[in-house]
């Protein structure tokens, strides 16, 4: 009998096991997506996408979670295998809508295509159009990309979520790698980031790319531009006298990176990426500025003048490229905390029972992520040396919530910027406070990840009934642009419309749910729409689609029949004409010369 040496068995096990797990993980992902062709459009469930996903999707997703925990349960996780599994998870969580629906979801995706198209047509920037043209950077890059590549705008918008998801999750890998040498911690944090990220910001947008840049710059700040205080702690320095102790503590810092040339390169890169953020998005530069400032004040940044540089860049842009917008809109101002919180939370909590459940699950998932992070922080607190950086970077984004409601989205945006560090601490909870060589909490992690996946898919795509559009609906909006002459006022009932993707600056826009009190009152709203149309020299075109009607119903913005009543009043009293269409859209033309009561 031949005895195989144990060492050979170990080698075979180390080499074959990752391949087998990789194959099983890939098969699980294929199983998950295999049944997606059965999903019929439009999605009509109040609970969104999660209610129509076939059982094969859930089996495949659960199997992927199990493969992940098995892959992590070795002394040295295989990096290529972990990267493959994380990428497969991102595909399942971010690409599923695109695999079901061949047109991009969300009105804002179409709007962003229209802005890039407008810049390409005009070959210049007109900041008076709207706020987007005061931060045109991302759209300028998008215009160049669309001009030089054979991809259609819709194709780019369709794949953007999964590309952003991949960049983010590997950004988290890089960030957490800068905080811990434990590969278990790194990959588990990335996994948890993916399953806890319900925040629907991965669509084609400047903020999605700005978040990628934020993660890259944070890595630079943590690694190559970071510093470590040597000698007494800050507490001891303060005790020994603020005047002498603190400067001595400050000057005792040593850089993380010994190579000066690499530090300079990292600094130039950080400033360059920061500059691109400044010209591309309103909010993200302030997140980066805050992060850099806190790291500097805590003695963890070797280049303390970096926040000053970033601040100067932001101020320079606000006073030049964005000066038109700034003239009418203060960037930051201290609001009443209750008012800001209300704008962010309470005003979103209305609608049908299904929609309310989706909103509540989002809040619950955020609370759960914070709770896991808090428990993880507690468990990791005995680790020495203590590192305040992830705590600072977790907490800071929420400090901006009272300062600016950002149209009711600040809490959501802050959660996204905080999430990598929530995932870092949450992973620490499952791995324990001390450095571990293994990973013992496998069943718990698999269960938590599976449960979180279900909730995150509900939270992320819970509005699928009105934020996904059928191909027929998208084509029907073309009809609107065929009949409405440039200069007309286009009136959508709600924001759930695949419009603004063409001739962006040639039309004016109004949305009924923005301009009328909610819930809609038929007579009052009829007067608002009529007056808007009569004030427009070229008249107005009110258009209604299925997605808009679903939005009204699910959000509880109008009682049944109110929209029909508004249309009836516009026809009978304002002389509106119903234009012929293919049925996927209703268009009412309201001419300014038609007068009525």
């Amino acid at each position: 009998m031949t005895v195989v040496p144990l060492r050979v068995l170990d080698v075979v096990h180390d080499r074959v096991r990752p391949v087998i797990l990789g194959a099983i993980g890939t098969a699980a992902a294929l199983l998950a997506v295999s049944g997606l062709s059965q999903v019929r459009l439009p999605i009509t469930s109040d609970y969104g996408l999660v209610a129509v996903l076939p059982p094969s999707f859930w089996w495949g997703l659960m199997a992927l979670h199990l493969v992940f925990v098995l892959a992590l349960a070795v002394r040295k996780p295989e990096p290529l295998l972990m990267a493959l599994l994380v990428a497969l998870l991102v595909v399942l969580l971010y690409a599923t809508p695109a695999l079901i629906d061949p047109v991009p979801r969300l009105e804002v995706s179409w709007r962003h295509l229209g802005i890039a198209d407008e810049l390409a047509r005009a070959r210049g920037v007109d900041p008076t159009i709207d706020a987007y043209f005061n931060w045109p950077g991302f759209f300028a890059g998008l215009a160049t990309f669309l001009d030089l590549t054979p991809f259609s705008p819709a194709q780019v918008a369709l794949v953007a979520p999964v590309l952003n998801g991949l960049l983010w999750v590997f950004g988290v890998v890089a960030v957490v790698s800068s905080l811990t040498p434990s590969r278990h911690h790194v990959w588990l944090a990335a996994w948890l980031f993916a399953v806890l990220n319900w925040i629907d910001q991965d669509y084609l947008s400047p903020q999605a790319f700005a978040f990628t840049l934020y993660l890259v710059v944070v890595v630079l700040l943590l690694r190559y531009l970071g510093a470590v205080p040597r000698g007494p702690s800050l507490r001891e320095a303060v005790r020994s006298g603020v005047r002498h102790g603190v400067p001595r503590w400050w000057q005792g810092r040593v850089p993380n990176e010994p190579d000066a040339r690499r530090r300079v390169t990292a600094l130039l890169l950080a400033v360059g990426l920061g500059a691109v953020m400044v010209v591309s998005h309103q909010l993200s530069p302030f997140m980066l500025l805050g992060a850099a400032t806190l790291l500097a004040l805590s003695g963890r940044l070797w280049v303390p003048h970096l926040p000053v540089l970033l601040g100067l860049l932001a101020v320079l842009w606000l006073t030049t490229g964005a000066s038109v917008y700034l003239a009418g809109h203060p960037v930051l101002f201290v609001q009443d905390v209750g008012q800001s919180t209300g704008a962010n939370v309470a005003q979103r909590v209305t609608g049908s029972p299904g929609h309310l459940l989706v909103v509540q699950l989002r809040v619950a998932l955020t609370a759960a992520a914070l709770a896991l992070a808090a428990l993880g922080w507690w468990r990791m607190r005995s680790r020495t040396p203590r590192d305040p950086r992830p705590t600072l970077l977790l907490v800071f984004p929420f400090a901006l919530v009272p300062v600016q409601s950002y149209g009711g989205e600040m809490l959501m945006r802050s959660t996204l910027f905080s999430l990598p560090f929530m995932a870092y601490y949450a992973a620490g909870l499952f791995l324990g406070g001390a450095r571990t060589r293994g990973f013992r909490a496998r069943p718990t992690v698999a269960l938590v990840a599976a449960a979180a996946s279900g909730v995150v898919l509900t939270g992320h795509y819970g509005n699928a009934a009105f934020d996904t559009f059928t191909p027929a609906e998208v084509r029907s909006v073309d009809r609107l642009y065929q009949v409405a002459p440039p200069g007309s006022l286009l009136v959508a009932v709600t924001h759930a419309s695949a419009w603004k993707a063409q001739d962006y600056a040639d039309y004016r826009y109004a949305v009924v749910t923005d301009d009328c009190a909610l819930p809609l009152d038929a007579r009052e709203c009829y007067r608002v729409v009529r007056d808007q149309a009569f004030e427009s020299s070229t008249g107005a075109f009110l258009f209604v689609t299925r997605a808009q009607e679903e939005s009204l119903r699910l959000r509880g913005d109008a009682a049944p029949g109110v929209l029909d009543e508004i249309e009836r009043l516009l026809v009978t009293r304002a002389g509106a004409r119903v234009l012929p269409t293919d049925g996927a859209i209703r268009i009412l033309r309201i001419d300014p010369q038609e007068q009525g009561p």
């Binding site: 990267a83 810049l119 390409a120 070959r123 210049g124 920037v125 045109p136 950077g137 991302f138 300028a140 890059g141 215009a143 160049t144 990309f145 001009d147 030089l148 590549t149 054979p150 991809f151 960049l167 590997f170 950004g171 890998v173 890089a174 790698s177 790319f209 990628t212 840049l213 993660l215 890259v216 890595v219 690694r223 190559y224 040339r261 690499r262 390169t265 990292a266 890169l269 360059g272 990426l273 500059a275 691109v276 010209v279 591309s280 490229g321």
Partner: protein, 110 residues
């Protein structure tokens, strides 16, 4: 100059010219993706020389898109934007990054 640097500079300067030629869509798409999504960031990543492959890939992709954004924005504000003009700008900046790094390395050796 190292071989990799020569390749990067050559590719960065050739890509805009290739995009002006009537190539099949697949090839021109690949060239454009390489120019806008890989080359500038690869130059930046070489300059930084991270030992982490994940960071190297991130800097490559994010850096490339950032350079494309920067060039495109400048051209728009100067009212001289066009896709080919942006491609030339991105190519020139990529070459400048590579040459700048080579010069820095040469100075270090001296």
């Amino acid at each position: 100059m190292s071989t990799t640097s020569r390749i990067l500079v050559g590719a960065a300067l050739a890509a805009p010219l290739l995009l002006l030629m009537p190539l099949p869509a697949v090839i021109s798409g690949g060239v454009a993706l390489a120019l806008l999504g890989v080359l500038p960031g690869a130059a930046l990543s070489r300059a930084l020389a991270p030992d982490d492959p994940v960071l190297a890939v991130l800097v490559t992709v994010a850096g490339s898109v950032a350079v494309t954004i920067a060039v495109s924005t400048v051209l728009l504000y100067l009212r001289v934007w066009s896709g080919p003009a942006a491609a030339v700008g991105v190519g020139l900046i990529t070459a400048a990054i590579v040459l700048g790094c080579e010069r820095g390395r040469a100075r270090d050796l001296v």
